[in-house]
């Protein structure tokens, strides 16, 4: 019952806000936030039930045999539900301040609540069809929210791009659903996993490929990642909630949920791990040349999801999911802190026009710094534990190349994150936008219509600092035995952890030290290029020179968009033009014209019968009736 409420509360909020938005007005923010936080409270209340020996299961209904719909709250879905409603609730509260001056604030919160409902549908479903429905709905919510400012053509284009690529992924999952139902006559996870052992390798590969196409599209994995940087056109809280903390990690959830299938197909595990690693490196490389603060964070998100996907791909499920858990906190933190900066600078997002904001916005600076230290894996903060677990997991499961890629990317991460910190908060201020609002951090600038109190935006950021620092300690075992994190999942991934034994003999502690060396090197290089006082003095000229010097390949995002344009978009347009130019006029329209001509010709013949003489008609009727009677009279006589 509580589970049902947990699932449906955000939907109720969305419907209420949709229907009564104009009447509710700015109270929409409080209502939308309360609904999500109430769901969070319910998720906390169900913590004990979900982690007990028999996970919480609520039957909703049966359509036909094999099609049974229900809700499942086991440790994995509980984890996602907690993040969606917990971090999501904080972001809702933050949005009250961020969207205060927007006339469509009720519509915004309706979409946000709808997103939370869709995401809960995705993770709470106990069957693949419900999962696919949630999968599609989060794509729709993402489309709504990227295109929230629909009067901006770039936002509309980004929304369409995200939606189309995500639907491509949905199709992959749909074929996996078909294959699984054909093989097991059931859509429930429990039935499928019970029969997983009987699947042929071909079937396993087909299903895993279908699922992973969906995961790659939703989680921005190469080559389906190009929508994520563009998705930053949406409001910053949307970027924090959907395009960093929750929706884009749905791919990680999918692979972890289907661990029993992926574990049986080593080639597919390898594929997933490699795609994750490629994404991780690509995102980091592209992140180092971005100037837009949100695009830096977007590429960083892509890179970090690459880590997670690599983790769950190689079989280090707990590590990959742990990185999702910590990433949700520190990336939401980074985005919200970036939102404070953007908000105070009148929607300026270019880091070249920032600088020196440390004195003016100390709160945003410290929040951003803690988030940055967490994401680069600074010892003691959450990212340190989760990232090292993923990197070492790759080695443990026998993938030395992925391990090396992970270590190098950790260095790149440190470099591009500190590049952002130095450009934004240190040196002289380089922008021309007024900094009047900068003092009030999260408050509003005077020329906007009224403003929310500054604490509305600062409180969620401050609250996020706690898990950003502490979340990683869940994976530390105090006093021997498995860590709380490992025992949290119970038997969920048992039998899926086929540790191959390290190929390179490096102890975990030494591996952590190696990662730290690269991280330190990244920070030092970033300092020398952007942070040192001599560099800061001539920052404007240096940044202009650097902007010109960025290689074309980086500017164009390694040509992924161009290749997709050439291979998919252009041929689609060509097909469309061919249909519009030939099939439509010469086949479809011609067919319609022929039908019209036949009708006209028949009419020309039969119109001659319509003389308009009523007496003529009467005579025809009499003659007809007479013939009719005569016919039956003759028949009767013949009998």
């Amino acid at each position: 019952m509580l589970l049902l409420l947990l699932w449906l509360l955000p939907l109720g909020g969305a419907i209420l806000l949709w229907a009564l938005g104009p009447q509710i007005g700015r109270a929409a923010g409080a209502l939308g936030s309360l609904v999500v936080l109430a769901s969070f409270g319910l998720a906390l209340m169900l913590f004990g039930d979900a982690t007990s020996a028999t996970p919480l299961h609520q039957l909703l209904g049966t359509w036909v045999p094999g099609f049974t719909f229900g809700l499942l709250l086991d440790p994995l879905s509980l984890l996602w539900a907690l993040i969606i409603t917990g971090v999501g609730g904080l972001i809702h509260v933050y949005s009250i301040g961020y969207m205060w001056a927007d006339r469509a604030i009720a519509r915004f919160f309706a979409y946000m609540n709808f997103f939370v409902f869709a995401m809960l549908t995705l993770v709470l479903s106990d069957n693949i069809v419900g999962l696919l429905v949630g999968w599609g709905l989060v794509g729709l919510a993402s489309y709504f929210l990227i295109g929230f400012w629909f009067y901006k053509p770039s936002a509309v284009a980004a929304a369409k791009k995200a939606f189309v690529i995500n639907v491509f992924g949905d199709i992959g999952i749909m074929f996996a659903v078909f294959a699984l139902y054909a093989a097991t006559s059931s859509i429930a996870f429990a039935d499928i996993f019970a029969k997983a052992g009987t699947f042929s390798q071909g079937l396993l590969a087909a299903v895993c490929i279908g699922l992973f196409i969906g995961a790659a599209a939703k989680s921005a994995q190469v080559p389906l990642h190009t929508w994520l940087p563009d998705a930053m056109e949406g409001p910053t809280p949307v970027s924090a909630l959907i395009h960093a903390a929750t929706m884009v990690t749905a791919g990680v959830y999918l692979v972890a949920r289907f661990a029993p299938l992926f574990s049986l197909s080593p080639p597919m595990q390898e594929t997933v791990g490699i795609v994750g690693a490629v994404t991780m490196v690509t995102g980091a490389l592209l992140g180092i040349t971005q100037w837009d603060i949100k695009r830096i964070l977007a590429y960083s998100t892509m890179s970090q999801i690459g880590y997670m996907i690599m983790g769950v791909g190689v079989g280090a499920y707990q590590a990959g999911v742990l990185h999702f858990f910590t990433h949700a906190f520190f990336k939401a933190q980074l985005f919200l802190a970036a939102g404070l900066v953007i908000h105070a600078l009148h929607d300026e997002q270019d880091v070249r026009k920032m600088g020196g904001l440390r004195q003016r916005m100390p709160f945003a600076f410290w929040a951003m710094l803690v988030g940055t230290l967490a994401i680069i894996g600074f010892p003691g903060l959450s990212g340190y534990f989760s990232k090292d677990a993923v990197i070492y997991g790759a080695l443990e499961h026998g993938h030395p190349v992925l391990y090396i890629a992970g270590v190098l990317t950790a260095g790149l991460t440190a470099y591009y994150m500190f590049r952002m910190i130095f450009l934004t908060f240190f040196g002289p201020y380089r922008g021309e936008a007024g900094v009047s609002g900068a003092q009030s951090e999260g408050g509003q600038v005077p020329d906007h219509a009224g403003h929310a109190p500054a604490w509305v935006m600062q409180l969620p950021v401050a609250l996020l600092i706690v898990p950003t620092i502490l979340a990683g300690y869940l994976n530390v075992s105090f006093g021997g035995g498995p860590s709380p994190w490992m025992s949290f999942f119970g038997p969920l991934f048992s039998g899926s952890n086929n540790v191959a034994g390290p190929v390179l003999q490096i102890p975990e502690f030494a591996s952590g030290m190696i990662v730290l060396v690269f991280v330190a090197a990244g920070i030092v290089v970033a300092y020398l290029r952007y942070g040192a006082p001599a560099v800061q003095a001539a920052a404007v000229e240096r940044l202009e020179a650097e902007t010109r010097a960025i290689p074309q390949a980086f500017r164009r995002g390694f040509y992924f968009d161009d290749v997709i344009e050439m291979l998919v978009v252009k041929p689609s347009y060509a097909i469309g033009r061919a249909i519009a130019g030939f099939i439509d006029p010469h086949v479809i329209d011609a067919g319609v014209r022929d039908v019209v001509w036949v009708a006209g010709a028949l009419g020309a013949v039969f119109r001659r019968l319509q003389t308009g003489l009523v007496r003529g008609y009467a005579l025809t009727i009499v003659a007809g009736a007479a013939a009719f009677i005569a016919y039956f009279a003759l028949i009767g006589a013949a009998r």
Binding site: T611, G612, V614
Partner: protein, 101 residues
């Protein structure tokens, strides 16, 4: 004295064909309407006659229906005639041929 049903049917047939001839031959719409009434009542007569002969009341009931329909038909028919007369200023049904193909 019992009148044989064939007499009624014969009278009905005669009335019916008088009506048919009236519809086909006459050009005055009022007369045409009257001829139609005649045909309807010929049918009524046959219905009543058979109904009596076979001791079955269905025919009687049916006649009431026909009378109702005939009344409605007369009302509508006269309204149409009046409307046509107002437009065309004549009452020759051969002249009213606006729907000629």
């Amino acid at each position: 004295m019992e009148v044989d049903v064939s007499n009624y049917v014969a009278l009905s047939a005669v009335m019916f064909f008088i009506g048919v001839a009236g519809v086909i031959v006459r050009r005055n719409p009022l007369i045409v309407l009257m001829a139609i009434e005649l045909m309807l009542n010929a049918a009524n007569l046959a219905l009543v006659a058979f109904s009596r002969a076979w001791v079955n009341n269905a025919g009687h009931i049916f006649v009431f229906l026909v009378v109702t329909v005939a009344a409605a038909e007369a009302a509508i028919g006269l309204a149409i005639v009046v409307a046509v007369f107002r437009r065309a200023k004549n009452v020759d049904i051969d002249e009213v041929a606006g729907l000629r193909g």
